[in-house]
């Protein structure tokens, strides 16, 4: 049993990488602004979030929103509206800053003063695999006590580090952890 899947989906299995599912769940817990950035409401909400304080402005600048204060002011006043590229930048900066701001609290809730959080791992979808090639992959749960590496990688948007941090945790599933490199869903509460 190889630990890392080499050619995933060759026989029709469907799934996503475990760390992507984790990032998805963490994003769901981070409660981003629901309105899309293309609507005026969504844009204004993001701009307000990114410009409320000098600290937030600095964070937005670091996250890639490198426009002048004059431009920001014009956007906020509604006299000018951002270009499509800038809309994407605003959204990306908002996500980065929000993740960074939420990370501390999410970490405390997930670590739960050392008790950790129970994580459900839903195995990959084998419905497209020929029955002779299907394998028994069970639903598994895992209690993760240390979330520092996962949250750190997620908040800095570092996919590779998140993958490594996640694999570091799921090796605790035992010798079959390679079966859970790709999953349909990772679920946990915070």
């Amino acid at each position: 049993m190889p630990e890392r899947t080499i050619d995933f989906g060759k026989y029709g299995a469907q799934g996503i990488k475990g760390h992507e599912a984790v990032a998805r769940q963490l994003d769901a817990l981070a409660d981003f602004i629901a309105s899309p950035v293309t609507t005026r409401r969504g844009l204004m909400a993001r701009l307000h979030y990114l410009t409320r304080t000098p600290h937030a402005r600095a964070a937005a600048h670091d996250a890639g929103l490198t426009v002048t204060d004059r431009t920001l002011k014009a956007w906020l006043a509604g006299t000018r509206s951002p270009t499509r590229q800038n809309l994407a930048r605003i959204d990306a900066a908002y996500r980065t800053v929000r993740r960074h701001n939420v990370a501390r609290y999410l970490l405390a809730r997930l670590n739960r003063t050392g008790r950790g959080t129970r994580v459900e791992i839903h195995p990959l979808n084998q419905s497209g695999v020929h029955s002779s090639r299907q394998r028994v992959v069970e639903f598994r749960t895992l209690n993760i006590r240390r979330w520092e590496a996962i949250i750190g990688a997620w908040s800095s948007g570092d996919d590779r580090a998140l993958d490594e941090a996640w694999i570091e945790q799921i090796v605790d599933l035992g010798s079959q952890w390679g079966q859970y490199e790709y999953v349909t869903n990772i679920g946990f509460a915070a």
Partner: protein, 509 residues
């Protein structure tokens, strides 16, 4: 001459041999200050076991001794004014513990063999059982003795002994390797009674304040009770499965595509003459509906007109035509749009039953596709019975606080088990829809029962409202139990409504 300098400095370092207090006093000082051995060891740059050594008789020397003496002196100076009070605290058992707990033993017995074990000045919640613990291991507060973890669960309330029947079942022996059975394991309504007693005590008998406090904590309490009831169960509760798009809300405030078949039906015309209509209320409709076929795992897609009785989920069906609308509501509710719709297991089973040879009321529905999983009817059964027993006891005792608490527990449990931010422990919109549909199907079955018994069904509304004309007491027992009905209202209806209350209630004429 550097040799002499070195000797001088050596002599200088030797001379102020700091006085250290007695070993026992050192330990007492640290504990009263609420410092752990690990903290202290980190500050001094030694290992925790070294600190253990110092506190059991060994003496540090050199620079460390000076530092340690300075630290102890500082602690003594800090603690001096309030010295008598912590001493009391250390000897008296903390109030949060009940009498089952063996007295806190900050004695040396535990500490001699384990380096990481620390005594805590103030009890902190145990990471294993949540009850106050007096020790910590490697920084995590917990009970040292597993038996203590078990016995700190709330003491069984005397009221539970009054319950007959179901709760009197023998206590199952715990499988080897598990933690010892707690009081709440043998008696699942224990936590409810304990929570109520605690709230009443905290609010000094103020019923309203206690009820409000209990209702506020109903969701986490229901989840804790669910966990309690699932201990030793055959199936684990899968709380965060992958959810198909039809079960996802389209927008933050929008709805998903599932049709729950909520009844909203008023009889189009009454028989001639004036009638006295009784509005009946089904007690604990959602509580009874917790008994339904719930899909256990992840929902799997399938197509074709087949229904597997061992599975449950949601189905895209074309509902059959309903020709009995003049005297019985349509089992799929009043749907205005024609065409296929997503219904849940209870609605489908109701339709299949009604299309069967026993009833023959409609054609069978046509199933196009489905998302289902292996199902069991007993997943929430212990949970339901625990709540029902608590409710029955509360009714017998006239205990309105428990009644409100139990009601908040099951109703909020059902309403927040989907995509709710108030309950993130459970993310099963499918269960939420199934349980609601089961409540509606149960109400529909009651309407059919009334109709079969010769009553005139006038209106079927919402979750628990059934308006009938006729002698309903021979069909439904009256009361507040879950198998009984309650009279909500009695009004006149018919050809000439006279009083304004009746006019408000009738749509016909």
């Amino acid at each position: 001459m550097s040799d002499f300098d070195a000797i001088d400095s050596l002599l200088a370092s030797l001379t102020p041999q700091s006085a250290l207090p007695e070993a026992r006093v050192r330990r007492g000082l640290r504990e009263r200050a609420g410092l752990s051995k690990a903290q202290l060891a980190r500050t001094l740059g030694v290992s925790p076991s070294t600190v253990t050594g110092w506190e059991t008789g060994r003496d540090p020397s050199g620079e460390l001794r000076t530092k340690y003496a300075y630290l102890l002196e500082g602690l003594a100076a800090k603690l001096a004014p309030s010295a008598p009070q912590p001493a009391d605290e250390a000897t008296a058992p903390p109030s949060a513990l009940d009498e089952n707990t063996t007295s806190p033993a900050p004695g040396p017995a535990a500490d001699d063999d384990m380096d990481d074990v620390e005594a805590l000045a103030a009890p902190e919640p145990c990471v294993l059982c949540g009850q106050p613990a007096r020790h910590q291991v490697a920084g995590f507060p917990q009970h040292l003795d597993p038996a203590q973890c078990a016995t700190t669960a709330p003491a069984p309330d005397t009221s539970t002994q009054q319950m007959g029947g179901r709760t009197a079942k023998p206590v199952k022996a715990a499988p080897a390797g598990r933690r010892a059975t707690t009081a709440s394991d043998a008696d699942p309504s224990g936590p409810i009674a304990a929570a109520v007693a605690e709230a009443l005590e905290a609010h000094e008998g103020d019923v309203e304040a206690a009820t409000a406090a209990l209702v506020k904590r109903a969701i986490p309490d229901a989840m804790a009770l669910l966990d309690d009831c699932r201990r030793g169960g055959r199936y684990a509760i899968v709380a965060h499965p992958w959810i198909p798009d039809i079960l996802r809300k389209q927008s933050a405030r929008g709805a998903d595509q599932i049709w729950e078949a909520r009844p909203k039906w008023t009889r189009p015309g009454l028989p001639a003459g004036r009638h006295e209509v009784t509005a009946l209320d089904i007690n604990g409709a959602y509580l009874s509906a917790l008994k339904t076929h719930l899909p256990l795992g992840q929902l799997e897609h399938s197509t074709g007109n087949v229904h597997d009785r061992r599975r449950a989920g949601v189905y895209l069906i074309t509902p059959p035509a309903w020709e009995h609308g003049a005297y019985l509501p349509n089992p799929i509710g009043n749907r205005d749009e024609p065409g296929p719709l997503w219904v849940t297991e209870p609605t489908l089973r109701l339709l299949l039953r009604l299309s069967g040879p026993k009833y023959g009321l409609c054609e069978p529905p046509e199933i196009h596709e489905s998302f289902t999983s292996g199902a069991t009817e007993s997943l929430l059964e212990k949970f339901r019975i625990a709540l029902k027993d608590a409710r029955d006891t509360a009714l017998a005792d006239g205990d309105e606080v428990t009644l409100e608490y139990v009601k908040a527990m099951y109703s909020k449990f059902v309403s927040t088990m989907g995509e709710s931010n108030y309950n993130r422990e459970l993310y099963r919109p499918d269960w939420m829809h199934l349980i609601r549909s089961q409540a509606f199907a149960n109400l529909w079955a009651k309407a059919l029962k009334a109709h079969d018994a010769g009553l005139t069904v006038v209106r079927v509304m919402g979750t628990d409202e059934l308006h009938v004309v006729g002698d309903w007491r021979r069909v439904f027992p009256e009361g507040r139990g879950v198998s009984e009905v309650k009279v909500k209202d009695v009004y006149a209806a018919g050809t000439a409504p006279t009083d304004p209350a009746a006019a408000g209630h009738t749509d016909e004429n």
